[in-house]
């Protein structure tokens, strides 16, 4: 995960400007903002709306549609555990509960020290190796709670 930067209006404007020439620039702008700031800062929304001549509602509709866009930066580690049917049938539910218990967190929460965020995900395309998880963007097949937690303990 890239370290999140302090949000500055100039920084937001610069990122938006990079993509204005594209056809359908909204998603590239949102990705770029999140890469840069670790989330889509609330301050960026009016700037995006003004630059693309769309409304706050439209910006909000797109951001809220994608689970991966964040309103707050995530912890240093992001652990995603699959809760879809195939994984459920291979102990995914238990895996999720075990991880949450070990970390003392609920779904979507970030630890107080900013170390780790745990999120549910619905299918990682790794059903053959269920239950599946993802740690900082890397897939983990036949995941086990303790191993996952160990990986994000640093």
């Amino acid at each position: 995960m890239p370290a999140s930067q302090t949000v500055s209006p100039a920084g937001v404007e610069e990122i938006i400007a990079r993509h204005l020439h594209r056809e359908g620039p909204l998603l590239p702008i949102l990705h770029d903002l999140q890469d840069h700031f670790g989330c889509i800062p609330a301050e960026a929304r009016p700037a995006i709306a003004a630059a693309l001549n769309i409304t706050q509602a439209e910006v909000h509709g797109v951001i809220s549609f994608y689970h991966d866009f964040r309103e707050e930066p995530a912890g240093r580690h992001v652990l995603k555990i699959c809760r879809s049917e195939a994984c459920q049938s291979m102990g995914g539910t238990a895996l999720g509960e075990a991880v949450l218990t070990l970390l003392g967190l609920g779904w979507g929460e970030t630890s107080a020290d900013g170390r780790i965020t745990v999120e549910p995900v619905y299918c990682l395309g790794l059903c053959a190796c269920a239950p599946a998880a993802m740690v900082n963007g890397k897939l983990k097949g036949r995941a086990e709670a303790k191993a996952l937690v160990a990986e994000v303990s640093a």
């Binding site: 609330a42 929304r45 709306a49 001549n53 769309i54 409304t55 706050q56 509602a57 439209e58 910006v59 909000h60 509709g61 809220s64 549609f65 994608y66 689970h67 309103e71």
Partner: protein
């Protein structure tokens, strides 16, 4: 729902919009039907009389295909396509009912209902709910989804789950909008509201937040509610909603209406058709009528919701009189009031002469009422002292277009904008002043038409979501003629004019002369740049865009007419249209956006002192003869007094009595002190209005008026469309306005005997050629008709000047720029221009008495931050606004919508008295006041000025009413 069935009033929802392709024949459930190519299978079925169950489709919106309830089977095709998104094909064989689709529909419906509250009996939409109807139509008998053991069934419906914990998926009702509520628990996420906001209204205030089971309708951004979002409360979403999710508060309070009457909105000049829906004589809601040809089923916050003034406690329901304006009012009987007024008027005429009294007709009243008021002056007072509030708005339009084309009216219908390629908006603010037309225009602009805005202020259209003007010329107020002539200069000198059109349709010699005039280098954009503040290159580009962009349409408003050169600008606009060949077909034309509902009609009806109905000069003996024969009186061949002449004559003692129907001249006319002095000098001022308006402070007789809901008649909108106004309830004041005028006329000995407005229309048709074939039976049958409607054009005239101009050859006129006398200088360095806002209407007499005040509680002064800074003014400060005429105070707001050197305000609130500031300069031809340019100074202030406090005090005293003496 209806108390009577009108043949053209087929309100069925056909599911998807009409298309215009070549005919295609298909078979639906064995019924052959022929529809235009591009039509959906759903619409074709509906046209064949077969309804396919649906939830997310409605015929005001493009098909969306999300609910899957409208699936059908089509021979030779696999699966079960959605009938809303499947276009028809020749020979297609469709089956809307089969075991397979019935099962699918029930399954879909079962899922919908599993997450919908089953409180139908106490729901505000009970009986008016498409979800309920569809559950019935698909035969849903059971919902099998149950909560798993030891757990709640996830839903959006219950605030708490079975174990008493708060349900995180449940959201409370949003009641922030004064007129409707949003209840997320009833939402089926059909997207109709979101699509209506986008496709119909063009505001894009709504979205779907989240995805899947979490999806919710959301107004604005994460922290917004409906009121704080971009929502303009047009009501399109409420109308589109199939459930009680978006519901009028009036329906929640009063229940679903049981009957409806089609009528015409009494606000702006768009003239939207509405269905007034009632229980008994209690109005429950106003719903835009889908077959209304001006609005095509759309509405704005005023017409849709702001009708509460009709039952506001301020409304006066009993006639009142007083001997002098220092006295309190006395409530009296109609007989006494009318007798008092008639005696005084007759007395004044005996003492001061026949021409010492006059009338002012209203652009708010019906054609029939206006006709009677001017008839009162001409046929009973026996003078031509009749004027109308159109004097102060569109009189230059009547004059300018009459001169150029031969008719004093716009050339198009509103549908025409759908064919425009370049739209030039000059001195108008359609999204605020004419919102329904604004939405129709924005729809066309989103389809790719180009927009040019000429306005000192950056109006919303210049840049609003999904719309951006190609050019915005932010000219200095008062330089319209220079800019329009410079555009003509570019078009002529660069050879961009339509020679073939001009040779065929206009006077070629006059054109030569005109071309020589505009080609003079002093009219070049470069030469006028310093004067107008418009960069020359931008002006050149604008002229090229307009001349070469295809169908060019010009829409203009009071920013054109309310100037010392208002008539000249109108002629300049007509010149531009003729130069570029943009007259006489769809998508082009010159279109005045009329401020009030019946400005066009009040002008047509002979309200002006020099014109008899149909714009015929009183000096013409043949025209007078028509009316003399009809009315049995001799008509004065001398034109009468204009409003400002009446006031001048009053102050000098020659004009003594005025009958003023439905206009508040004290608030709306320029230079308030002058108006007040004129009124105070009169001995009998009769105000006929809904409320004790500002003018009534100077009145001796107050005749309570009726609202548009309480009378029959017709309004004529900006596209010359004669629309019926229908009585939906008895007048609360006892009489419709035309009856009151008749009572007054008869008390003065007229002997009129109209029993219904249709008889007045018959008289209008008999005397006025453009209305010759208009009658109420025809309007019942067709809904509306655009004049001229006579033997030459029995179906009316949607587009004018199709094969030739009414006057013969189109006339090019020289438009020399003459600077207004009103100039800035060291004492008054800023230019004030005025306008209006969406939620308020004109002097606000109606809208201030509705919940619309949540959007606009007071008039504020827009000032550029540079001008504010040099004066030490910050946001929200009280400032003093002073001109050569007077001064007033109001709050300032800092914005770069206005250029440095220009300030702007609205005139909706009497407390502000914006017209204390405006001067009595006026249009050279028609005396239309120069509201749009006043040299002013702005300085910090502590609060209201002495004038405002005096005025408040005076108004309070003038409004005292004695308890009825019984």
């Amino acid at each position: 729902m209806k108390d009577f069935i009108i043949p053209w009033d087929d309100d069925r929802d056909l599911g998807t919009p009409a298309k215009t392709g070549a005919p295609v024949t298909l078979s639906v459930d064995g019924v052959e039907v022929t529809v235009p190519a591009g039509t959906s299978v759903m619409r074709a079925a509906a046209l064949a009389g077969i309804g396919v169950p649906k939830l997310c489709a409605t015929d005001s919106l493009e098909a969306f295909g999300s609910c899957r309830l409208c699936v059908v089977e089509i021979e030779g095709r696999r699966g079960t396509p959605a009938s809303c998104t499947t276009p028809v094909a020749p020979g297609m064989v469709v089956r809307t009912q089969s075991e397979k689709v019935k099962k699918i529909r029930r399954g879909v419906m079962e899922l919908y209902i599993s997450d919908h509250p089953l409180d139908c009996l106490t729901c505000a939409a009970n009986g008016d709910c498409e979800l309920q109807d569809m559950a019935g139509a698909v035969g849903l008998r059971d919902v099998r989804y149950e909560a798993p053991e030891n757990a709640a069934l996830a839903n959006h419906v219950t605030p708490r789950n079975t174990s008493g914990e708060a349900n995180p998926l449940w959201q409370a009702k949003d009641e922030s909008n004064p007129y409707f509520t949003y209840d997320p628990s009833k939402c089926i996420v059909c997207n109709r509201c979101v699509r209506a906001c986008e496709e119909v209204q063009g505001t894009f205030a709504l979205t779907i937040e989240g995805r899947g089971f979490d999806s919710r309708v959301k107004a604005g951004g994460p922290l917004d509610d409906f009121l704080s979002s971009d929502c303009v409360s047009c009501g399109a979403c409420v109308q589109a909603c199939p459930t009680a999710t978006l519901q009028e508060k009036s329906v929640i309070e009063l229940g679903t209406p049981e009957r409806s009457v089609i009528t015409t909105c009494a606000y702006c000049g768009v003239g939207c058709s509405f269905k007034a829906e009632l229980n008994g004589d209690e109005l429950v809601r106003m719903v835009p009528h889908k077959h209304g040809e001006a609005n095509r089923g759309h509405s704005c916050v005023k017409g849709r919701f702001a009708w509460g003034y009709a039952s506001h406690p301020d409304r006066i329901l009993h006639p009142m009189i007083r001997d002098s304006i220092d006295e309190p009012w006395r409530e009296v009987s109609w007989e006494e009031a009318i007798g008092f007024a008639a005696a005084r008027l007759r007395g004044l005429q005996e003492k001061h002469g026949r021409k010492s009294i006059g009338v002012i007709t209203s652009s708010r009243c019906t054609n029939e009422e206006t006709f009677l008021v001017q008839k009162l002056a001409r046929g009973v007072f026996l003078n031509n002292n009749t004027d109308t509030c159109a004097r102060v708005c569109h009189s230059p339009t009547g004059y300018g277009l009459g001169q150029a084309f031969g008719t004093s009216a716009g050339t198009q219908n509103f549908d025409s904008v759908e064919q425009s390629d370049v739209v030039l908006v000059i001195g108008a603010n359609p999204t605020d002043g004419h919102p329904v037309f604004g939405s129709r225009l924005k729809k066309r602009l989103r389809q790719g038409a180009k927009l040019i805005v000429i306005d000192p202020r950056r109006i919303d259209l210049v840049k609003t979501p999904h719309v951006e003007a190609a050019h915005h010329l932010a000219l200095r107020p008062g330089t319209n003629v220079a800019v329009v002539t410079a555009m003509a200069h570019v078009i002529v000198t660069e050879g961009l004019y339509d020679e073939a059109f001009i040779r065929e349709r206009c006077d070629w010699d006059e054109f030569q002369e005109y071309a020589a005039f505009v080609s003079d280098p002093r009219h070049a954009p470069e030469a006028v740049e310093a004067l107008t503040g418009v960069p020359a290159e931008e002006l050149r580009a604008t002229a090229r865009t307009f001349a070469t962009g295809g169908n060019g349409a010009i829409y203009y408003g009071l920013g054109v007419t309310e100037h010392s050169q208002g008539s000249t600008t109108v002629m300049g606009i007509a010149n531009l249209a003729m130069l570029t060949g943009n007259i006489g077909r769809e998508g082009v034309g010159v279109n005045p956006l009329r401020g009030q509902n019946n400005v066009q009609g009040s002008c047509d009806m002979g309200s002006f002192p020099h014109e008899l109905p149909g714009y015929r000069h009183v000096k013409n003996a043949d025209v007078r003869a028509i009316f003399e024969q009809a009315w049995g009186v001799e008509i004065d061949p001398e034109p009468g007094l204009r409003i400002n002449n009446m006031l001048d004559a009053a102050t000098s003692g020659q004009f003594k009595g005025l009958y003023c129907q439905g206009e508040d001249i004290l608030q709306s006319d320029p230079d308030t002190r002058h108006v007040a002095a004129g009124l105070a000098a009169m001995e009998c001022v009769i105000v006929h209005d809904l409320f004790l308006n500002e003018t009534a402070n100077y009145a001796h007789v107050f005749l309570p008026g009726s609202t548009f809901l309480e009378k029959d008649g017709t309004f004529t909108n900006a596209e010359r469309r004669i629309n019926r106004v229908r009585r939906v309830m008895a007048p609360r004041n006892g009489y419709a306005d035309w009856e009151i005028t008749q009572l007054l006329a008869n008390a003065m000995g007229a002997g009129w005997s109209y029993a219904h407005p249709s008889e007045i229309m018959a008289e209008i048709a008999a005397t006025t050629p453009g209305f010759a074939n208009v009658n109420y039976e025809m309007l019942e049958e067709r809904g509306s008709v655009q004049w001229p409607c006579n033997d030459d054009t029995p179906d009316g005239s949607p587009i004018m000047h199709v094969d030739g101009f009414v006057r013969g050859k189109g006339r090019f006129m020289i438009t020399e720029y003459v600077a207004t006398e009103e100039r800035t200088g060291p004492r008054f360095p800023l230019l004030l221009t005025t306008g209006r806002i969406l939620s308020q209407y004109n002097v606000g007499a109606q809208t201030r008495r509705t919940e619309n005040t949540v959007w606009h509680q007071e008039d504020v002064l827009e000032i550029h931050p540079h001008d504010a800074e040099t004066r030490g003014i910050t946001e929200g400060d009280w400032v003093k606004l002073a001109s050569r005429s007077g001064e007033t105070s109001l709050r300032a707001t800092l914005t770069d919508r206005v250029s440095p050197g220009v300030v702007y305000t609205t005139f909706h609130h009497p407390g502000t008295q914006a017209n204390v500031i405006t001067t009595d300069f006026s249009d050279w031809a028609t005396n239309c006041p120069e509201y749009k340019v006043t040299a002013v100074q702005v300085s910090p202030s502590n609060g209201p000025t002495a004038w405002q406090e005096d005025y408040e005090d005076r108004a309070r005293r003038a409004r005292r009413v004695l308890p009825a003496a019984e």
